[in-house]
């Protein structure tokens, strides 16, 4: 594990050190409180009844028997959730996903919910609710859903974008990206490779199921304790869907047991609040693992065609991708994101991506770590290796020759500033793994990946205590250790020790709106707000020092955590430390604070290149990952341990996706493997140590040069492993996951072909 800071020219005192995280003790002793760890006096247990059908008309829901069961306090159906958003489609979709409105759109779609005095009573009540369904034809495969005769999932959907259409369809949008003349590019090429790929649906697989404790009274005031990536977003959505005042719903984010995009919008939280409102008692609602798989938002399955044309010298002359992503039963932008990211690593004169967003009878797709990019990268990066092979060029050299750089026009539109793709490729070339010997049936592969990263609305407050310790309040949920990084930033900016800073994730009543922790924005945007808040606090500290000394504030500067008087006339004044100023604050104007409200724009894109060695058992098709290296541009690594942790975790998710993870649907449209037994995420013995190399290519859009680091490294593994498998046993896998049956089949087919 190494960090290469040679690109950065900033120097820091404590940024970049590996301090212990502030929430560590609570988490190793079992004291940390997650979604399901809260209780309220008099709380009820909430449970949800879900559709067993992939697509069905709900003719009647009879709750009369369940209502009479002693201990049942509230039952709700969509009748209890009227459309209060006046047909505003994205919100109505969320509401309809929370509870079916006349039609069950996928296996696991909620149709009713109950709150009862205990779990056993609630379970019995669910059994007593009688739902009359009329089963409708369904479709779960993205290519089948695009056929003219496919069952239509949502009758109101028409194709928007380019081209548009006005007839009922499952294609909700078509987006096009790119520039240049693609046909001329292919005409110029010496070599053209064209391939089709498929990837199956995967789930984020966070270990903590969704859980919340909701309490709403008849006075319209409410509280929600919930595991979420964005409690402000949850507040807004719940308030709008239930007709509550935003200010009167206080949402507190619990410790979150993983999200990866899956906890970015509401699933059952409005149901819990509605049950609580109806029963006038607190309701605790915790999903089972099966419900998490069937009823929350996995990522898309896809079908992608890629065509690359290149000259003999390795220059790519034309690049085309046609991407078909299923969004589940509600329109999304996931295909579009695939289209935007597909070619982002390269400097291409003629490039095009056509992306289709398609509806099927599966759960509403949610974001999953660099959403949509891994599938597009699998298709593009697999084809890149094929082209390199065809023209007889080393795959790393081929990528380096075509890599994007500062000034390259990105395939999705804008021109890049300083970026790190070439640096990661150079680092791959020089990495010892590239020279390590391989044994029989072993192969090495590499691949690149890209992700945007975001900023967004952010708010932070710094309060300085009379003893000189510092409270930092932020509104971005800490998913992976950001409280440590944010404390480091506050300490660096104020010039105090890390130990004197305490960072808290504020509830919605204590701080202004913050966008959800998604798009790798937590440390980037809250870090930015903290820097500005700290600078405001420093201004106040300077003013207080000036008051103490009775000199103009302009003559006070902040240096190394203390106020210093500038100029000859004050040179006998001893500097005042933050602690000294704080101690006097009651008599110099009261509490000292600094706050900042901002839209943290200027997030920098990031790139990763991965190297992977595998061994394939040619008799069973089993693949073992022997060695794995992640090289990624981090901008500036605030806390290197947690940057490495993000790289390693993302790579592990990508490896699981590449080899084993998939949603398996039966012919009946029902999910066959809604559990950790048969939805196979990697276990400890499946993986080697994952080596990392952090490159620090500063983002000019951030005072410290920070880029998001959380997502990019889930992008390369699918193709890196596919390329490694191909180099190990000579078969090109075009279907993810590359499970043993698929690899063995490919090996047999190749043997048969001679």
């Amino acid at each position: 594990m190494t960090t290469d800071p040679s690109f950065t020219n900033q120097t820091f005192k404590i940024i970049g050190t590996r301090v212990p995280r502030p929430d560590g003790l609570d988490k190793v002793t079992g004291r940390a409180r997650y979604g399901a760890d809260a209780s309220a006096a008099g709380q009820l247990v909430g449970l949800i009844l879900r559709s067993p059908h992939a697509h069905a008309q709900i003719k009647k829901i009879d709750i009369s028997k369940a209502e009479k069961l002693p201990g049942v306090k509230a039952i709700i159906t969509s009748d209890d959730l009227p459309d209060l958003v006046k047909g505003k489609r994205d919100m109505l979709d969320i509401l309809e996903n929370c509870m079916a409105r006349g039609r069950a759109l996928y296996d696991g779609h909620a149709v009713a919910a109950v709150a009862a005095i205990d779990a056993e009573t609630a379970r019995q009540a669910l059994k007593l609710i009688k739902v009359e369904y009329k089963v409708l034809p369904h479709v779960t495969d993205v290519d089948e859903a695009m056929q003219d005769n496919a069952p239509v999932v949502q009758s109101w959907v028409r194709t928007t974008g380019n081209p548009e259409s006005n007839k009922p369809t499952n294609v909700c949008q078509v987006s096009q990206f790119g520039h240049g003349d693609i046909e001329a590019g292919f005409a110029e090429a010496d070599v053209i490779i064209e391939r089709s790929y498929k990837t199956e649906q995967t789930h984020q697989g966070y270990i903590e199921p969704h859980a919340c404790l909701a309490s709403v009274g008849p006075d319209g005031q409410g509280e929600l304790w919930v595991t979420t990536q964005g409690h402000y977003t949850f507040r807004t959505q719940c308030a709008q869907l239930l007709g509550m005042d935003i200010a009167k719903l206080k949402v507190t984010s619990s410790e979150i047991g993983g999200g990866f995009g899956g906890k970015t919008h509401v699933w059952m939280e409005p149901i819990a609040l509605a049950l609580s409102r109806k029963a006038n008692r607190p309701v605790k609602l915790v999903l089972t693992r099966e419900e998490v798989f069937r009823g929350t938002g996995p990522t898309c399955s896809t079908s992608i065609d890629v065509k690359i044309g290149a000259k003999r010298d390795g220059r790519i002359t034309g690049a085309l991708a046609v991407l078909r992503y299923q969004d589940g039963a509600f329109p999304g932008i996931w295909g579009m994101l695939g289209g935007m990211t597909a070619w982002a690593c390269y400097d291409l004169p003629n490039v095009k991506a056509i992306a289709y967003d398609v509806l099927v009878n599966r759960p509403k797709v949610a974001a999953y770590r660099a959403p949509s990019a891994p599938m597009a990268a699998f298709a593009v990066e697999s084809t890149m290796d094929l082209v390199a092979h065809q023209i007889g060029m080393d795959p790393v050299d081929f990528r380096l020759l075509n890599a994007a750089k500062e000034g390259t026009r990105a395939s999705y539109g804008p021109t890049y500033g300083p970026i790190g793709i070439r640096a990661t490729l150079e680092a791959v070339k020089n990495h010892p793994q590239m020279k390590a010997k391989l044994g029989p049936n072993q192969g090495r592969g590499m691949a690149c990946g890209f992700w945007f990263n975001f900023g967004g609305q952010t708010c932070a407050t710094i309060n300085i205590g009379v003893d000189g310790t510092v409270n930092v309040s932020v509104g971005t949920v800490d998913v992976g250790g950001s409280r440590a990084s944010l404390s480091l930033i506050a300490a660096e900016e104020l010039g105090v020790s890390y130990e004197s800073v305490k960072c808290t994730i504020a509830d919605t009543a204590s701080l202004g709106h913050n966008d959800t922790t998604e798009g790798s924005r937590g440390t980037f945007s809250s870090g930015m707000a903290i820097i500005f808040a700290a600078r405001n606090a420093v201004n106040e500290l300077r003013a207080r020092a000036a008051k103490t000394w009775d000199i103009p504030v302009e003559e006070v500067e902040w240096k190394d955590g203390q106020a210093c008087a500038i100029g000859m006339q004050h040179n006998n004044l001893e500097p005042l430390s933050l602690a000294k100023i704080a101690a006097k604050s009651p008599r110099t104007g009261g509490p000292i604070a600094g706050h900042n409200e901002t839209v943290a724009d200027g997030a920098g894109v990031s790139f990763a290149s991965h190297i992977c060695d595998v061994e394939v058992d040619p008799e069973t098709g089993a693949t073992k990952v022997l060695r794995y290296t992640v090289i990624q541009d981090a901008g500036k690594a605030i806390h290197p341990d947690y940057v490495e942790g993000q790289f390693q975790g993302a790579a592990a998710q990508g490896i699981g996706w590449a080899l084993n993870e998939e949603y398996v649907y039966g012919k009946d449209g029902r999910l066959q493997n809604p559990g950790f037994l048969d939805y196979r995420i990697p276990v400890c013995s499946d993986l080697p140590f994952i080596d990392t190399k952090i490159l620090e290519i500063p983002n000019p859009g951030h005072p410290y040069g920070i880029r998001g680091v959380g997502e990019t490294s889930i992008v390369p593994p699918l193709a890196a492993i596919g390329n490694a498998v191909s180099n190990a046993v000579g078969v090109r896998m075009n279907h993810v996951p590359m499970s043993p049956p698929r690899i063995l089949k490919a090996i047999k087919a190749q043997r048969a072909a001679g």
């Binding site: 081209p163 949008q173 987006s175 995009g261 579009m336 289209g339 804008p414 967004g456 798009g519 859009g701």
Partner: protein, 80 residues
């Protein structure tokens, strides 16, 4: 000033890859966009991002657009 249009938005501006609008800020650009191409209004509600010289702005409509800047209208996107 040439404004590049990507993705879905092209459908709302008649399929053009770029359009001409003079604007000094993102707000002025958005106002003129809706005025000229009413179909873009629904996209504006869902969110548009504007890249000015490669830097992407999602919410900051006060951002000035320098003379001669590269301006790209992009979909507003989210992550995991």
């Amino acid at each position: 000033m040439k404004i590049a249009v990507t993705g879905l938005l092209r459908g709302a501006v008649g399929g053009a890859a770029s359009i001409d609008i003079e604007a000094a800020t993102i707000r002025e650009l958005m106002n003129k966009l809706v005025e000229r191409y009413p179909q873009t209004e629904s996209h504006l509600d869902a969110g548009i991002a504007v890249a000015i010289n490669g830097e992407i702005f999602r919410d900051n409509w006060g951002e000035p657009i320098p003379v001669g800047a590269e301006v790209v209208l992009m979909p507003r996107i989210n992550g995991g």
